[in-house]
């Protein structure tokens, strides 16, 4: 059993209307210190696999094929044992 935590964010330079709207909202509420906001997706995918390498390969592929559109989005993920012993970061573009 492994848990993939996946972060999908817009690529650099891509307009983030959500982030702009949230920043506008926060400023209007009086949080003057906010200088930038970006909004992305956060997914948790639970896998009935114990082989970390195989899991990593599959998650990588899922991201590329379904979870992110490489034209405007980038992703990264971590793989954890449900107990949460060690983490592996793997940045991707």
């Amino acid at each position: 059993m492994l848990l993939a935590k996946i972060y999908v964010t817009l690529k650099p330079g891509v307009l983030d209307p959500q982030g702009e709207a949230v920043m506008g909202g926060l400023k209007a509420m009086g949080y003057e210190g906010v200088t930038a906001v970006r909004v992305g997706k956060y997914l948790e995918v639970q896998l009935d696999l114990d082989d970390r390498q195989e899991a990593g390969r599959q998650v990588e592929e899922m991201c590329r094929r379904l979870l992110a559109n490489p034209v405007i989005e980038q992703y990264r993920y971590t793989l954890e044992e449900p107990a949460g012993l060690s983490t592996e970061e793997s940045p991707r573009g």
Binding site: G13, V14, L15, E20, A21
Partner: protein, 733 residues
Amino acid sequence: MEPEVYRQMGLTDEEFERIKEILGREPNYVEVGMFAVMWSEHCGYKHSRPVLKLFPTKAPWVLQGPGENAGIIDIGDGQAVVFKIESHNHPSAIEPFQGAATGVGGIVRDIFAMGARPIAVLDSLRFGPLDDPRTRYLMGGVVAGIAFYGNCLGLPTVAGEVYFDPSYTGNPLVNAMAVGLIEQKDIRRGRAAGVGNAVMLVGARTGRDGIHGATFASEELSEASEERRPSVQVGDPFREKLLIEACLDIIKEDLIIGMQDMGAAGITSSSCEMAARAGTGMEIDVALVPRREEGMTPYEVMLSESQERMLLVPKKGAEARVQAICRRWGLEAVVIGRVTDDGIMRIKEGGRVVAEVPARALTDQCPVYEVERRRPAYLDKLQHVDLSHLPEPGDYGEVLLKLLAAPNIASKEWVYRQYDYMVRTDTVAGPGGDAAVLRIKGTGKGLALTVDGNGRYCYLDPETGGAIAVAEAARNLSCVGARPLGLTDCLNFGNPEKPEVAWQFYQAVTGMSRACEALQTPVTGGNVSFYNETEGEAIYPTPVVGMVGLITDIEKRCALAWRREDDVLILLGETCPEIGGSEYLAVVHGLVAGRPPGLNLEREAAVQEVVRQAIAAGLVTAAHDCAEGGLAVALAESALAGGLGAVVELASSLRPDYLLFSESQSRVLLAVPPAARDRVLAMAREKGLPAAVIGRTAGRALAVRVNGRTVFNLSLGEMEKQWRESIPALMAR
């Protein structure tokens, strides 16, 4: 300059020489960039301009023809309709959601750039067959993207069309049309008149999105381009909504001379087009352009295609008021330059001049190419396929059910239920009919809108196919009781440098033009989309026609749904054995072959006139044009729309499948109360039109007999299931 540099931007050696000649010197990097985008096919119409001249563009009611952001048609009472169509095919193929969304955003900006309040959106879509998972992904994304943008703007998407054919698998078509309403006194044109006037940029900040070609090796770019830049933009419909309201407030206060949206080629195209139209020049300081990203070069600022921006030329002294209105709507508005009198586009960065080009050199001096035209070899083969000995189907009921489930005919509710087609509370008839009908508040009038095109017909005979696209659009409007007034077209073709594609293009425009003349529907603008190919294979030549009509009395409109038992069914027009290019031939016999149905334009005009006359006289309870799937499908569609069946009796020497599924043009199926029957038949006779009583509405089934023999008798339930559940089932796979 290294040839590599301008070649990568898409300029040929000859074009580069021509630029040198115009300038009398070697252009710099920014200037080459500006020429490259303005002389691109998309902006410069290099391969289409001479052919587009064939279109009739004038009529007493045309207030603005091609050449502006959108066309304008007089609808009386000091009001006018503003409308245009545009393609967003390639962005949608890469990122269907954002590609389609920004397509809607772009065409809507063309409408309010003229000063009009946008009131409706239409969409014309082409995909490959739905059994391909990628096609399902594309269609899901495109439809959601159109819904996302249009719904958020509060614009009803009131009509559209979706076709599926393998020719579009790699290169889907996403054409969006927008319609606006305007008081004629508020009309503004994209002109930068008045020397010394300010030039203002309103709306979103400028980022690196959509800069053409992405990565070039050059001095100016090298330090800035660590990462590949996105060429697909993300749409921000919320900001566009604010932009609409701000611009319309600015128009209401009469603060500007002209404005233009920023679409392809961003600041470059909007500024030089506004200057060229007015015969002026412009000085722009890119340092004044608000940025979304740091370190942008003048080149990037001038070519950025960031969405949701407008270029305004305010009246003298109105700058502060324009800014105040924009601020109220939460938008930035900054002066980025001035109108000058020397006809030159002078681009500065602070004090330094970075480009200096005659405005007209960018717009009017774009080279034009006459390509050799050659009739494609496939035509002889396909047109001469013998269709007279096809095996006759055993069970016509089964055939009709199969046709009703065919994605090209099946209900498109899966698509339009995602569109808010009711917002603005003017939608009297939304998607699902022959044409959408919008009331015009404060008048008794209505607008009718439709978008049409059959790529298969054009593939088999582009001239006839082009003419049919226009005729069918007009027929759809006539069927709701509207008089067709004008059209905007989106010409989707393959690579125009290929003689075969050039031939298709020329033929299609010729056919469309003939139909425009005959039906008195001039072209008020449009868009050309070339290079729709994958791996050297072009899509079907697909001209799409968006048409606008007027209903003088909205109470006298018509729809396709049968509404009353025992109404008389009259078929206006003549059924010929024309199954070439038909849906029946494709779905049942697996063939795309033959010639498309013939079109007699005089006959067409007469049929439409009779239909409109009969509707206006209040004699018709339902009208529906016979299109894909022929008479049988037209009968089924009217039955399903009204939840009412019919008993139909046909007499003919044609084989039943030819009779039922031929797609002969210029036919309309009418339902009339028994008392009106003779008057309607007389109206047809007066025009020398064939008209036959073929049955009456009755019950909950559609029963059709040919020469006394029952060919099918299907319950509405059976038909409805096939028709309504087909596309949802395919999409759910």
